[in-house]
Symmetry: C2
Subunit: 411 residues, 2 copies
């Protein structure tokens, strides 16, 4: 097991890296009896490589003060014997991250990537569905899956939600999800919502042969999640959503292990873990952990999103999701945040993939000609983008997408 960190330190990077390795294996702040050379050889983390990068005058985050006024940034590679934690993902996480972020010798530390040993590929099955499985479940062969989020996020009754699903179904949507702020509430009880929505979806499937994938927000206590999972299965649903950071690794793994529903992993809270360039975890490392846990779909924001994230970062995240991990299914990147179709052109140009779940909330539901036109507009945008048209050409050619461009394009 190897990990790559981007660090900043007022000390020599090699010395700081040694503290990191010590803290995350056999060490404590003084030598203790029993920490023999043989034991160290077998269990100690090893600093494999330190590459000095830029230096700065101001520390990124509070920590030890530099005596020279200089803070060194470096790329540090560390390796562990997996004998230390076996196939235990939470303990792996505590080893790769854990107390590292507390070490005063660092004024910045970000886990950038993980290199997993081949035995992990044999032990962990990864996504049960992933890209291919989600395509099969929705019957979408090659274009991006088009999805939307129930809005308003919170407050609609079951009947209102089911009516909205009916409208979206008629419009040809592939995927719909609950908002992450709603799981079960007084006026939209989980079980009632599943029953109400799946009735619409099943009826639509009987008529058209197309089963819309609906991601019901399962997030909650462990037993409740398992019960609700069964409710979805019972009603013929194909997907459940989990707020992975809020539920946590052990809970998510347990749900993924049921392997009957595609798991839509919502990464809300992610900004806290990655937004600072020198603190937390990079998406490349993050997505590997959740793929091991077995999620099938994972949020990546989108090009020109309404959030802080840069387009470069979004493109890197899409590429990471679609890079093979062992012989597992790739996890389906969920593109969202302020999307209305106009971003399809740059998304296609920069990623050259249609293996995406392309989500628009307001971009569909607030379309001037109604939600059905909103779905059509997104399909038009993607089809035009893949054919090599520009946004302007597509807006001129397609009526629905043209209206989208008028309403949302000025933003």
């Amino acid at each position: 097991m190897k990990a790559v960190y981007y660090i900043e330190t007022p000390y020599e990077p090699e010395a700081a890296a040694a503290v990191l390795a010590g803290e995350q294996s056999s060490g404590t702040f003084v030598a203790v009896p029993g920490e023999t050379e043989a034991l160290k050889q077998r269990f100690a983390a090893r600093v494999e490589k330190v590459t000095l990068l830029e230096t700065v005058q101001q520390p990124a985050i509070p920590g030890a003060i530099s005596k020279t006024g200089v803070y060194n940034r470096a790329r540090v590679e560390v390796s562990w014997s997996i004998e230390n934690f076996g196939y235990n993902l939470p303990v792996m996480l505590s080893t790769l991250q854990g107390n590292l972020y507390e070490i005063t010798q660092f004024t910045g530390l970000k886990l950038m990537d993980i290199e997993l040993p081949p035995s992990f590929g044999a032990h962990f099955k990864g996504p049960e569905f992933g890209v291919e499985g989600c395509r099969k479940l929705t019957g979408v062969a090659s274009r991006p899956l088009i999805g939307t989020i129930i809005k308003p996020s919170v407050g609609l009754s079951v009947t209102e939600t089911a009516d909205l699903v009916k409208t979206l179904a008629a419009a040809g949507i592939d995927f719909i999800k609950d908002d992450e702020l709603l799981s079960s509430s007084a006026n939209s009880k989980f079980e009632d919502r599943v029953a109400g929505i799946m009735k619409v979806i099943n009826k639509h499937a009987d008529k058209t042969g197309k089963k819309i994938m609906y991601a019901f927000n399962l997030s909650g206590e462990m037993d409740e999640m398992l019960r609700r999972y069964e409710t979805i299965v019972k009603h013929g649903g194909t997907c459940a959503m989990i707020s992975i950071n809020s539920v946590g690794l052990s809970g998510v793994k347990k749900i993924c292990d049921q392997r009957q529903l595609a798991i839509h992993a919502h990464r809300n809270g992610w900004g806290m873990l990655t937004r600072h360039p020198l603190l937390g975890i990079d998406f490349r490392a993050y997505q590997k952990i959740w793929r091991l846990a077995g999620v099938d779909q994972l949020h990546v924001n989108g090009i020109q999103n309404k959030f802080w994230e840069t387009d470069d970062s979004v493109v890197a995240s899409i590429n990471a999701c679609l890079t093979k991990l062992f012989d597992q299914q790739n996890v389906l990147p969920v593109v969202s945040s302020g999307q209305w179709g106009g971003q399809a052109f740059e998304t296609w140009q920069r990623t050259q993939t249609q293996d995406l779940l392309y989500m628009a909330g307001g971009g569909i539901l607030a379309h001037p000609m109604g939600p059905a036109a909103g779905v059509t507009a997104l399909q038009q945008a993607w089809s035009a983008a893949v054919e090599g048209s520009t946004l302007q050409e597509a807006a001129a050619q397609y009526r629905e997408f043209g209206k989208s461009a008028e309403k949302f394009g000025g933003k």
Copy 2:
């Protein structure tokens, strides 16, 4: 439900706060049909108060660029109807944190505190043991519980670990824990370790009437954690440890709900969530979430710790743990990190409490006269501190503590 955030924004703080409230309740980036005034009244988050604080010239984290070159910091209070999420802790977390950290209008956002509605006190039982329960289980009436960590963290065999426990038992230790890097490994299988260690502890209890609390590191997959929990119960253990950030909220809650063992909550990974002053979550808010989940002991670092955390922050954390939440048991603050007894004096002066689990790893195990003297030294330090002695006086008065001061005091 009310939450307090410390924010930074290039915009007017009131406008940024409105974006926050919209994102975390009914809103999306454009108005959508169905978001009626009645629905907003009932479900929308409300900005209760905005207090302008300092202004700065440089943004804390990447986000929208200020046109005036000024970034405003403010304290923002937001409230929600708990109808939005009910008693679902993961959805509460997604509401309080979630996408907030992604909002580009903020160049800094930290969740500082939560005000929980009284109905939470009726619904959530909180710690089963907490301060009083842990005192009863260990038979320590009023002084701090003295604890240590098995070191080397990783690599000792079961026999070696059990021998070390025997030595520590003879020395009068109250509490011992696995290192968070070890759960089950080839040469220290969980079940074998529980059997080996509990044999020593039970024998010691039979002889002396004192049962040492040992926190076995349960962290792992859900079913495995539940099985291992039963193993601990079966062997007469009284405590299990969980790396709460690695396992996550749903998994931890499920374990706490068993309510037979005291749960030692290790917060490794915490630095990532709090080390930046304008990103993440403050301990005041954090500890409330985990108390609702039901943990009995929670790490707070220690005075003059080896990590980045300031003494002021440690003192605030101890006070937070010992502030009543509803009519629940207080969670026992776990003081650790580079502790050897010398810090007892300032810890006592600044907190005036002995309701602590006071942990020393190297400070006990690397004591020049051996671990037994290490335990004695810590008891001497606390007794002297509470009697009003200074470190120097205590070092002169007590042989074992004097040796500690010689070896560790120069650091």
